[in-house]
């Protein structure tokens, strides 16, 4: 049996082999490569395209996230899943969830804009944040206006690294409005690999957040767990 999470930007596959967790990740449009030679009856699917791929059973990424996170952190209270096109916050304590899929400012797409603007790779944002000496205020909660504010700060004398850190803070504040008070907050999703964003979020929330080793495969793992 495999867990297959086909999201808006990446497809992830998880399976158990010789007692260990194995996984593969590719971009969404290449999802077929992952399941080559695998019977649809072996697949538990989740993610935005869960019903467009062959599957034995499917479940939403919200439920998958709960099962996947539980594998690493059985006492997680709140899960924050920062995806490419939306951000989901699940309060496991009372089975409540909120999804932001209306505004890009609190999603991975926002940071992608920033990386594109500076013509750098998405995964370089974290290390650049670490080099910032000051953090400019970027107050706009709208992605488009935050970008123009970012440009003003650059013109005003802040370095590229500092402005990137400012953008991480703007992003973190946007997300923090969705997160209820809790001690055990787990972050998942590809965007969570960005240490700069995580540092900003921890500072804004004023708590230590928990992050699994491979935050991007948690929903695929959860799909597998749910049906096994």
């Amino acid at each position: 049996m495999i867990g297959l999470d086909v999201g808006s930007t990446a497809a992830k596959m998880v399976w158990i082999e010789s007692g260990g967790l194995k996984f593969r990740i590719t971009s969404t449009h290449n999802w077929k490569e992952l399941v080559e030679g695998i019977d649809g009856d072996e697949i538990i699917s989740t993610g935005y395209f869960r019903n467009s791929v062959p599957h034995r059973a499917s479940l939403t990424e919200l439920t998958a996230a709960i099962y996947g996170v539980r594998h690493y952190f059985p006492d997680a209270e709140v899960i924050v899943d920062i995806g490419g096109q939306d951000t989901k916050v699940i309060d496991v304590r009372n089975n409540n969830f909120i999804i932001n899929d209306k505004c890009s400012a609190g999603t991975g797409a926002f940071l992608e804009f920033v990386a594109n603007y500076f013509k750098i790779e998405l995964n370089e944002l974290g290390s650049m944040h670490a080099m910032a000496k000051r953090i400019p205020d970027i107050n706009n909660t709208c992605g488009v206006f935050a970008l123009s504010e970012m440009i003003s700060q650059l013109v005003g004398g802040y370095s590229k690294e500092e402005v990137i850190a400012g953008m991480h803070y703007a992003f973190a504040r946007r997300i923090s409005y969705m997160i209820p008070q809790a001690h055990k907050v787990v972050l998942i999703g590809g965007t969570v690999k960005n240490e700069g964003m995580v540092a900003a979020l921890m500072d804004v929330l004023n708590i230590d957040v928990l992050i699994p080793d491979e935050p991007q495969i948690i929903n695929a793992l959860g799909a597998l767990k749910y049906y096994s």
């Binding site: 935005y48 939403t60 439920t63 089975n95 969830f97």
Partner: protein, 313 residues
């Protein structure tokens, strides 16, 4: 002379309208399937009916706008419709539930409509509403699908403008045998998506309570004084606590497992969400709609996740 068609924008006692010898036409009923995307808007419901009235895509002889105690967007868009030349009357429910006040409003409305000519309509509609109550019971026990029940109950605001025809539609309904799992209540204003009930059903959520349409079948009386007392219980026009007490009873009576709170973009009812969440002790999903059409994918995801959550409980 053809019977006059009176546009209504929300609950206006149909007993009174029919008894004045004119027919009501609920201007909201055409919106979910309209595929209209109005330009200058807050709430799409009022913006679309206003546009359609002004452009004469909905033709009415006059209009009754429910404003006080219900919706201020309707009050403004109703005035815009009035400015286009449609004879318009503004109807106000009392926030404090004062039957004397509502009685005077109903008298003024009857004058606007030309006075009572067929008082027997009060009773005739009362009988139809009893049938509505029966249908509502049937859907709670799976003898009627929630989409069929909704289609009929929502039409009780104007009884499809034809009492005999509407009665036939009701008696033609075939009984079903549906397994009712995941019993949910749909509270708030009705969704602007025309296939919402079918969608919920396809995701294994059975809607056993439609809050607003239920208001359409539970009030009545055999003359103005009686309906003045009875319609004072119209929960949407009253203080939130009055509505919440009513909801608590209904949710318990219908043994619901969860509550879906539909909210409309730019509607003041959205502000009630946190209070409803706090006071109603059920798993609750809040969704928001804006423009008419099919239930969007994002809403489907929320419904499905909510169902999975109810499954886990």
């Amino acid at each position: 002379m053809p019977v006059k068609k009176i546009g209504i924008t929300a609950l206006v006692p149909p007993e009174l309208i029919f008894s004045c010898g004119v027919t009501p036409f609920d201007v909201n009923n055409v919106i979910p399937a309209s595929r209209k995307y109005p330009g200058n808007k807050l709430c799409a419901w009022t913006a679309i009916w206003k546009d359609m009235l002004v452009k004469k895509e909905i033709e009415v002889d006059s209009l009754v706008v429910v404003a006080g105690g219900d919706c201020h967007n309707a009050l403004v868009d109703g005035q815009k419709a009035a400015m286009s030349g449609i004879p318009t009357h503004f109807f106000f429910y009392p926030f404090d539930g004062d039957p004397e006040y509502l009685g005077s409003q109903l008298h003024r409305l009857s004058l606007f409509l030309g006075g009572i000519k067929s008082p027997e309509k009060f009773k005739e509609i009362g009988e139809l509403k009893k049938q509505g109550q029966l249908l509502d019971k049937k859907r709670c026990s799976g003898k009627l699908s929630s989409s069929e029940a909704f289609r009929i109950l929502i039409s009780f605001s104007d009884l499809a403008g034809d009492l005999a025809g509407f009665s036939m539609i009701i008696s033609d309904l075939q009984e079903k045998d549906i397994e009712v799992r995941n019993r949910v209540a749909l509270i708030g204003v009705p969704p602007i998506f025309h296939d919402f009930h079918e969608t919920a059903q396809s995701l294994d959520l059975q809607i056993v309570f439609d809050e607003l349409p239920y208001e359409f079948i539970r009030h009545g009386g055999s003359n103005i004084q009686e309906i003045a007392v009875n319609y004072c219980g119209y929960t949407f026009a009253r203080p939130l606590e009055f509505r919440i007490d009513f909801l608590k009873n209904e949710l318990k009576r219908r043994r619901v497992d969860g509550v879906i709170h539909y909210t409309q973009f730019a509607c003041h009812h959205m502000l009630e969400d946190e209070v409803l969440r706090e006071k109603l002790d059920y798993p609750m999903l809040t969704i928001q709609g804006d423009l008419p059409g099919n239930t969007p994918q994002q809403v489907k995801l929320r419904l499905e996740a909510f169902r999975e959550m109810l499954d886990r409980q």
